[in-house]
C-alpha cells in the first residue's frame, strides 16, 4: 500500500490501483460510516508450514543441492524457515539409489551423481516429523553448452546476455541462474591494524599482513529473479540475445571489476511452466487491486497425506556454465565513484593504564598509523593516542556482503 500513496505512478496497473485506492479513501473519509478492521481468517493466522523443496538433481559431475524449508505465516518478518533433519534420496526406480546429506541447515548435498541420462529419477524426502514426500520421476535433460555470455552498454547501463543452441532441437526450455561477484573498495586504505595482544602498547597498532587487508572486498550476489526462456515457437532450438541481467548505470558493481557466472539448466515443459507461473506471481499480495494470483503447481506430493500442499518443482538435468569478467575500463563513460561518506582524519586516545578506547577495541575506529604517547586533548594524565578513521571509510567489510577473501575463481585484470 505504501506505493499507492506516492503520487508518481509509472504503470497502468498503478493507475487502476490508484483509482481503487481513491475510492476506498473516499469511503474511509466518512469516518462515521466506514471502518477498517483487522481481518484474519483462521486459514491465514493458522500455522501453514508446508514443505518447500528447491533444487535440481544434477545429473552430471556437479553437486546436487536441495534446499528444504517450511512456509511461514504471512505475518512473520522472516520468510526463511529451514527444514532440518530430513532424510533425502534420489532413485531411478530400478535399483540405483543415492543419498543426500544435510551439509548446512536445510541444505542437503550430494557430490557428483553422474546419472544415467536415459533413466528417470525422483527425489524422496522423509522429514523429521516422519512424513514422506516424493517427486514424480523426471527425465534427465541434457543441457547444451552456453555458447557465449557477453555484455553491451546502452544508455541505461550494461546488459548481460547469453546465447545457446541445441543442434538436436531437444532442449527448448531453459532456465538460468547467475551469481555476480564484484570488487568493492573502501574509500580509504589503512595499512595498520589494532592488535592489543602485544605486551607493548606502542605496538598495538601494527602493519597488516596481506590476509588482514580490509581495503578490497569481494561481494557475491545470487539471482533473485527467475530467468527462463524458450525456443518452442522457433523452427530451431536457438536462444539468442537472452537477457540475463541489467546493471544500471552508476552501479558500484562496475567501479572496479565484475564477474558473472551463468549456470544453464535445461527444463521440461512442465518445469518451465512452473517457473513461469512463479515468476508471474512475484511479490504481489492479495489486495482487491491485484490480479488473481495463480495457484502453485508442483510435481511433489506427500505420500502419507496427499492433501498436504507441497511447494516446489524437482527437475533433473546436467548443468552447463560460463563465467565472464568485466573491468570498469571496458565500460567507458561509467560515472565516477562518488562516496556518500565524509571521511575526516580522526584519532583515538585513552589514559595510560586504562583499557583502550572502546570504539577502537570494537573496530568502529581503525588505526591509520602507529600509537604514540600523549596528545590526548582534555586529559591531563599520561595517555595514548593513535590516528584513526571510521571503519566505514577504511573497512570494506562494513559494506553489506563485503568479504576480503578473494574467491578461488577470481582472476585479476
Amino acid at each position: 500500500m505504501e506505493s499507492l500513496l506516492n503520487p508518481a505512478f509509472g504503470n497502468d496497473m498503478e493507475r487502476e490501483k490508484q483509482y481503487w485506492f481513491f475510492l476506498l479513501t473516499v469511503a474511509a473519509g466518512w469516518s462515521l460510516v466506514t471502518c477498517r478492521k483487522p481481518y484474519s481468517p483462521p486459514v491465514i493466522s493458522g500455522n501453514n508450514d508446508y514443505l518447500v523443496v528447491e533444487g535440481v538433481i544434477a545429473a552430471g559431475s556437479d553437486s546436487t543441492i536441495i534446499n528444504l524449508s517450511r512456509t511461514v505465516r504471512i505475518a512473520n518478518v522472516n520468510a526463511i524457515n529451514p527444514e532440518k533433519g530430513a532424510k533425502m534420496t534420489v532413485d531411478d526406480g530400478q535399483g540405483a539409489n543415492y543419498s543426500l546429506i544435510e551439509a548446512d541447515k536445510g541444505r542437503y548435498v550430494s557430490t557428483s551423481l553422474n546419472l544415467d541420462n536415459s533413466h528417470r529419477y525422483r527425489l524422496s524426502i522423509t522429514t523429521a516429523d516422519g512424513q514422506t514426500y516424493v517427486s514424480a520421476y523426471v527425465p534427465v535433460k541434457v543441457t547444451p553448452p552456453i555458447d557465449s555470455v557477453w555484455f553491451r552498454t546502452n544508455s541505461t547501463g550494461v546488459n548481460i546476455y547469453s546465447a545457446a543452441h541445441d543442434p538436436s532441437n531437444n532442449t527448448r526450455y531453459y532456465r538460468w541462474y547467475y551469481t555476480e561477484t564484484y570488487v568493492y573498495q573502501a574509500d580509504l586504505e589503512t595499512k595498520y591494524i589494532f592488535d592489543p595482544t602485544n605486551p607493548d602498547t606502542l605496538k598495538w597498532s601494527r602493519l597488516r599482513t596481506p590476509a588482514e587487508q580490509i581495503h578490497t572486498c569481494y561481494i557475491t550476489i545470487n539471482t533473485s529473479t527467475i530467468n527462463i526462456n524458450t525456443s518452442a515457437a522457433l523452427s530451431s532450438d536457438v536462444i539468442a540475445n537472452n537477457l540475463i541481467t541489467e546493471i544500471p548505470e552508476g552501479s558500484e558493481k562496475l567501479f572496479h571489476r565484475y564477474s558473472i557466472m551463468v549456470r544453464q539448466y535445461a527444463l521440461t515443459q512442465d518445469a518451465y511452466n512452473f517457473w513461469a507461473k512463479l515468476k508471474k506471481n512475484t511479490e504481489q499480495i492479495g489486495t482487491i487491486f491485484d490480479a488473481q494470483p495463480s495457484e502453485n503447481t508442483t510435481n511433489l506430493y506427500c505420500i502419507s497425506d496427499p492433501s498436504k500442499p507441497v511447494i516446489g518443482y524437482v527437475s533433473a538435468s546436467t548443468i552447463t556454465q560460463k563465467r565472464i569478467f568485466i573491468n570498469w575500463t571496458q565500460v567507458p563513460d561509467w560515472p565516477p565513484y562518488i562516496s556518500p561518506l565524509v571521511c575526516r582524519p580522526d584519532f583515538a586516545c585513552w589514559p595510560k593504564g586504562s583499557p583502550p578506547q572502546q570504539l577502537l577495541a570494537f573496530g568502529e575506529l581503525v588505526p591509520t598509523d602507529t600509537i604514540r604517547s600523549g596528545g590526548c586533548p582534555g586529559i591531563d594524565k599520561p595517555s595514548w593516542t593513535v590516528p584513526a578513521q571510521g571503519a566505514v571509510c577504511v573497512d570494506c567489510r562494513t559494506h553489506p556482503g563485503g568479504k576480503t577473501q578473494k574467491p578461488a575463481f577470481w582472476i585479476d585484470e
Binding site: M1, V43, T71, I80, A276, E295
Partner: protein, 907 residues
C-alpha cells in the same frame, strides 16, 4: 336564405395554387356561405392546389383532401375539418339497426373512430366505457370472419404510451399486452365485444366495440391516483402467468421508488440487485451479475441506446435519472431474438414520453444530488418533449477526508432528452439524447473523467393493423480519460473510447390471433480506441503510447414466431444469426499452435489494411420457449436460449470501474458463447394479487475470459497474452413471491445459485486449481431479499428492505516462503475462501403532501435509514505489507446506520 340542402348542392368553381388553409377556407366560405371550423395548427401543413368548376362543396373537399389524412364533416351550415379522424355528427351510441350512415360516411369509409382525445375530458368516464365504438366500414349486416383492431393505449393525462397494458376480450379469451410503444393489435371475430384494458398503475377500463372490419381504436387510460379496491389487478400479473416469456422481471418506477437507497435517491440498478438471480460483488459497485454471468454480459439499454458505464460517483448512483425512467425490464432467460450481443441478460430501461397535454415538471433535493425535469407539448397532442437533468454537490463530502486529500473533488451530471412526435396515425418519430459525465480528482493530482453519450432516432411505421416496423439509427459513445500533471516531467493524459454506430429494423407482424411473427436485422459498427497515452504539458517527457484502434462490424438477422397451439399451449421460437467481422487497419500476432499465447511464442504477425476483413465469426442463436397453462392462474414454462458475445470487458476487478477497457473479438480472442435451459412454474393467487414463481436454470459459457496472474490491461499492445479462455457453468433455483396490490406490497426472493469456471487447457497457459472447476468471483450461493412497503394512508407509507447473501469468494495468501532467491507468497486455491456474509436492513418513510389534484405543486418527503442494524459488512478484504509483515484488513463502507432525507416537488 338558401336551405342547407340547396347550398350543399350548390355548384362552385375554385382555383387554388399552393393555397394555405386560411385562403382555402375563406374562399369556400365566401362561395358557399358555410362556416368552417378547424384547428389552424393541425392544418398548417396543408397546401391545396386544385382547379375545379361546377362541383358541389363535398366534391371540392373530397378532391382537396384526397390521399391526405384530413377529413371533413358537413352538418347544417357548418363544415368541420379534422385531421387524423372524421368527426361524426350522429350520436355515437350505436344501435344495431342504426340508421344508414350519411352519404359522407359511406363515401369516406375510413378507419377513423375514436375521437376521445379531445372529448374525453368532457365526456363522463362511464360514458366512454359504455359508449359503443363502431370499428371499420359500417355495414348493415356484420360479415362473418375476423377483423383486426389496433391502436395505442395511452395515459389520458400525459398522452404517454402505456407499456404492457393488457387488452383482453373475455368472451373469446383473446388478449395481449401492448408493446413498448403502447401499441396493440388484436384479431377478433366481427361483431360486438367488450374489451377489458388493464395497465400497471392505471385504472382498469373497458371499451365496447362493434367490429365491422379492420380498424383502429386508441384507448386512453386514467392514472390510478389512489389504490382503490376494485383496481387491484395489474397487467403485469396476468402477463406473468400468461406470457410465453420466462425469467423476465418488470418493474415500474413506482416500485423502484419505494426501495430505500443509501442516499435516498431512487436507484434503478440497486433495485435490479434485489431481483432473484441478480447479484453484485459489493456495495458501491454498479456492475451486476445475472445468473452467473459477468458484469459485461449484461446489455444495458436506455431507450435502445447501449450504456457502457451505468454508474456515477464510484457506483453510489446509477446513471439513470429516476424522474425520467418509466419502467425497467430485465430479461434473464428468454431473451427476445431482437436482442443480441451479450450473454447473460438484457436490462431495458425505458424513459417516459413527455406530456403531450401540458407543461409539467418535478424537482428533487437530496444530500448529494439535485434533479430537475420538465416536460410538455411542443405541438399539443402530437409532439412532446421530456428533459431531465441531475447534478451533484458532493464536494462537502470530500472535505471530510483526511488532510492529504483535502484538494480532491468529484462531480457528475447527466442529461436526458426525449422527443416524441406522432406525425400521423401511421408514423411516429422518437428522438432520444443522453449524456453523462463524471469527473473526479485525487488531491489535485490525477484527474479521472468518464462520459456516456448516446443519441438515436426511431421511426415507427404502421403499415396496417397487422404489420408495423421500427427503424432505428443511433450512436453510442463511452470514453474515459486519466490525466496527471502534478509532476511536469511525467505529466500524461490517457484516453480510452468506444463508439458504436447502430442501425436496426424490427418488424412485427400479427398474422392472426394465434400467431405473431417478428423479424428484422441489426448492424453495429464498433470503433474502439483501447488506449492512448500522450504527454501532457510542455515539460513532459512521457513517450506517447498508443494501442491501435480496433474496428468491427456485428450484423444480425432474426426471425421469431409466437404461436398458440391450443389456448393452453403456446410456443415461441426464434433464431438470430449473427455475423461478426474484425476489420483492419490492424496488426495481428500469430502464435505457435498448442503453446500458450506468450511473447516468446509469437511466430509471425500480419498487418491488414483499412476495412480489410481480418477474420469473421458467425453462428446461429436459438431462442425457444413454451408455456402450458394449468388452469387460469397457473402455468409451467420451459426455455432454451443461446447467445454470442463479441465485445468483452477487460477488468482486473470484479465490478465495472472507470478504468476498465473493452476488447473486441479478434483472431486470438474468440467470442463468448452461452447456452441456457430453464424451467419455471408460475402461479397467481388471490385474484392475481399474489404472484409466485419458481425458476430453475442451467447455463454453460464457452470462451469466458479470465486473466493471467499479474495481467496488465491498460495500454497492453498484446492483451491476448494476458487473457485466458475458460469455461463456465452456472445453475440455480429462484423463488419469488410478489404482492403488488393492497396496503402491504413488495416481494420476497430467495436464490440458490452456483457459478463455476474452469481452465483445463494446458496449452492455453496456466491451469487454474489444477484444471478443476472453481467458483467465479461473484459466486454467492445464498441470496435472500425482502422488499416490503406498507401504506398506512394515501399519504404515508413505510418501506423495509432486507438483504442477505453469502460472502463472495476470495483467494487468500496463506503463507510465505523463499524460492528462486526471493520471498514468495503461497496462495490458496483460486477463490477457495469467502469474505464474511452480507446482511443489511434499510428502512424508509415516504410522506406525500396532500392529494388535491388542482394545486400548483405536489411535494413529498422521503426519510430513512440505510443499514439500520449498522452491520459492518466487508466491502473488501485486503493485505498490506508493513515492515516485511503482511497483515489482513477488512474494509466496510457503510459500517454504521446512515440516515437520509430527500425532498421532491412536482409541478
Amino acid at each position: 336564405m338558401v336551405s342547407a340542402q340547396d347550398s350543399a348542392n350548390k355548384l362552385i368553381s375554385v382555383d387554388f395554387s399552393q393555397a394555405k388553409i386560411e385562403q382555402f377556407v375563406s374562399d369556400l366560405e365566401s362561395k358557399t356561405g358555410y362556416h368552417f371550423y378547424y384547428s389552424p395548427v393541425q392544418f398548417d401543413s396543408l397546401k391545396v392546389t386544385l382547379q375545379a368548376s361546377n362541383k358541389t362543396l363535398g366534391q371540392v373537399l373530397d378532391m382537396a383532401f384526397a390521399k391526405t389524412d384530413f377529413h371533413y364533416t358537413i352538418k347544417d351550415q357548418f363544415v368541420f375539418l379534422t385531421k387524423g379522424r372524421r368527426l361524426y355528427t350522429d350520436l355515437a351510441v350505436g344501435f344495431f339497426n342504426a340508421p344508414a350512415a350519411n352519404n359522407e360516411a359511406e363515401k369516406q369509409p375510413t378507419t377513423a373512430v375514436d375521437y376521445a382525445d379531445e372529448t374525453e375530458k368532457k365526456v363522463a368516464e362511464a360514458t366512454t366505457e359504455n359508449k359503443i365504438y363502431e370499428i371499420g366500414i359500417k355495414t348493415n349486416n356484420i360479415k362473418s370472419g375476423t377483423a383486426t383492431l389496433a391502436g395505442y393505449v395511452r395515459n389520458i393525462k400525459t398522452g404517454e404510451a402505456i407499456i404492457g397494458a393488457s387488452v383482453f376480450d373475455p368472451d373469446s379469451k383473446v388478449g395481449l399486452a401492448t408493446d413498448q410503444f403502447g401499441y396493440y393489435s388484436l384479431t377478433l371475430s366481427r361483431g360486438r365485444h367488450t374489451l377489458l384494458i388493464r395497465g400497471l398503475g392505471m385504472k382498469d377500463t373497458r371499451r365496447r366495440i362493434i367490429l365491422y372490419s379492420d380498424g383502429k381504436l386508441n384507448i386512453e387510460m386514467q392514472e390510478q391516483v389512489t389504490s382503490l379496491k376494485e383496481v387491484q389487478i395489474s397487467a403485469e400479473k396476468v402477463a406473468n402467468v400468461r406470457s410465453v416469456e420466462m425469467g423476465v422481471n418488470k418493474l415500474d418506477i413506482k416500485s423502484i421508488k419505494q426501495i430505500p437507497t443509501a442516499f435516498g435517491e431512487a436507484d434503478v440498478l440497486k433495485v435490479v440487485l434485489t431481483l432473484p438471480g441478480v447479484q453484485t460483488v459489493g456495495e458501491a459497485t454498479t456492475g451486476f451479475n445475472v445468473r452467473g454471468g459477468s458484469a459485461d454480459q449484461n446489455l444495458i439499454l436506455l431507450n435502445d441506446a447501449t450504456i457502457y458505464n451505468p454508474s456515477h460517483f464510484f457506483g453510489f448512483f446509477s446513471a439513470f435519472d429516476p424522474d425520467i425512467v418509466k419502467n425497467i425490464e430485465l430479461y434473464k432467460s428468454t431473451i427476445p431474438e431482437k436482442y443480441g450481443g451479450r450473454l447473460s441478460s438484457v436490462l431495458d430501461v425505458t424513459d417516459r414520453d413527455g406530456n403531450t397535454k401540458k407543461f409539467t415538471g418535478s424537482a428533487g433535493i437530496g444530500l448529494l444530488t439535485s434533479r430537475l425535469n420538465i416536460e410538455g407539448p411542443i405541438i399539443k397532442d402530437k409532439t412532446s418533449f421530456i428533459f431531465g437533468g441531475r447534478t451533484t454537490y458532493s464536494d462537502w463530502l470530500l472535505s471530510l477526508l483526511p488532510n492529504a486529500y483535502k484538494n480532491s473533488s468529484a462531480s457528475f451530471y447527466d442529461l436526458n432528452l426525449g422527443i416524441t412526435s406522432q406525425l400521423d396515425d401511421k408514423n411516429t418519430i422518437y428522438l432520444m439524447g443522453y449524456m453523462s459525465k463524471d469527473n473526479f480528482r485525487l488531491n489535485s493530482d490525477t484527474t479521472y473523467a468518464y462520459s456516456n453519450k448516446n443519441a438515436n432516432i426511431k421511426w415507427k411505421h404502421n403499415f396496417n393493423n397487422k404489420l408495423y416496423s421500427v427503424v432505428l439509427a443511433g450512436i453510442d459513445h463511452y470514453d474515459y480519460s486519466i490525466a496527471s500533471t502534478e509532476n511536469p516531467i511525467d505529466g500524461y493524459k490517457l484516453n480510452f473510447g468506444i463508439n458504436q454506430y447502430n442501425f436496426k429494423t424490427d418488424f412485427n407482424y400479427y398474422v392472426n390471433p394465434k400467431n405473431t411473427i417478428d423479424f428484422g436485422l441489426s448492424a453495429i459498427y464498433y470503433k474502439l480506441n483501447p488506449g492512448n497515452e500522450q504527454p501532457d504539458g510542455a515539460k513532459s517527457l512521457v513517450i506517447p503510447d498508443v494501442v491501435a484502434q480496433e474496428q468491427a462490424m456485428e450484423n444480425a438477422i432474426y426471425l421469431g414466431d409466437k404461436y398458440d397451439i391450443t389456448s393452453d399451449l403456446s410456443i415461441s421460437a426464434g433464431i438470430r444469426y449473427s455475423l461478426y467481422a474484425y476489420l483492419g487497419p490492424q496488426t495481428v500476432d500469430h502464435y505457435a499452435p498448442n503453446l500458450p499465447k506468450e511473447a516468446v511464442n509469437v511466430t509471425d504477425s500480419t498487418t491488414y489494411g483499412k476495412n480489410k476483413i481480418i477474420n469473421t465469426y458467425s453462428g446461429p442463436e436459438l431462442r425457444l420457449s413454451a408455456r402450458y397453462n394449468i388452469g387460469d392462474d397457473m402455468s409451467v414454462k420451459a426455455a432454451y436460449n443461446s447467445m454470442r458475445q463479441y465485445i468483452h470487458l477487460v477488468s482486473n476487478t470484479t465490478a465495472i470501474s472507470p478504468t476498465d477497457s473493452y476488447k473486441l473479438s479478434d483472431p486470438n480472442i474468440k467470442p463468448q458463447l452461452g447456452q441456457q435451459v430453464s424451467l419455471g412454474w408460475y402461479r397467481n393467487a388471490k385474484a392475481n394479487t399474489i404472484e409466485t414463481s419458481i425458476e430453475v436454470y442451467y447455463k454453460t459459457i464457452a470462451n469466458y475470459l479470465d486473466y493471467r496472474s499479474g495481467a496488465t490491461l491498460l495500454l497492453n499492445q498484446h492483451i491476448e497474452q494476458d487473457l485466458i479462455n475458460t469455461k463456465g457453468k452456472a445453475y440455480g433455483v429462484e423463488f419469488l413471491v410478489r404482492k403488488t396490490a393492497g396496503k402491504l406490497n413488495g416481494w420476497i426472493s430467495y436464490t440458490y445459485s452456483r457459478t463455476f469456471l474452469r481452465q483445463d487447457d494446458p496449452f492455453a497457459g496456466e491451469l487454474i486449481n489444477g484444471g478443476d472447476w472453481y467458483p467465479a468471483n461473484y459466486d454467492k450461493p445464498h441470496d435472500f431479499n425482502f422488499n416490503g412497503n406498507y401504506r398506512f394512508s394515501h399519504r404515508f407509507s413505510v418501506s423495509l428492505d432486507v438483504t442477505y447473501s453469502t460472502g463472495r469468494p476470495i483467494t487468500l495468501p496463506i503463507a510465505k516462503y523463499e524460492y528462486g532467491g526471493s520471498e514468495r507468497v503461497f496462495y490458496s486455491d483460486r477463490n477457495a475462501y469467502r469474505i464474511p456474509d452480507y446482511f443489511r436492513t434499510d428502512f424508509s418513510m415516504n410522506i406525500e403532501g396532500n392529494h388535491k389534484v388542482h394545486q400548483l405543486t405536489h411535494n413529498s418527503w422521503s426519510i430513512g435509514v440505510y443499514n439500520l442494524t449498522g452491520r459492518a459488512n466487508a466491502y473488501s478484504t485486503f493485505f498490506s505489507e508493513q515492515g516485511g509483515v503482511i497483515n489482513g484488513y477488512q474494509l466496510s463502507i457503510f459500517a454504521k446506520p446512515i440516515p437520509f432525507i430527500n425532498y421532491n416537488i412536482r409541478f
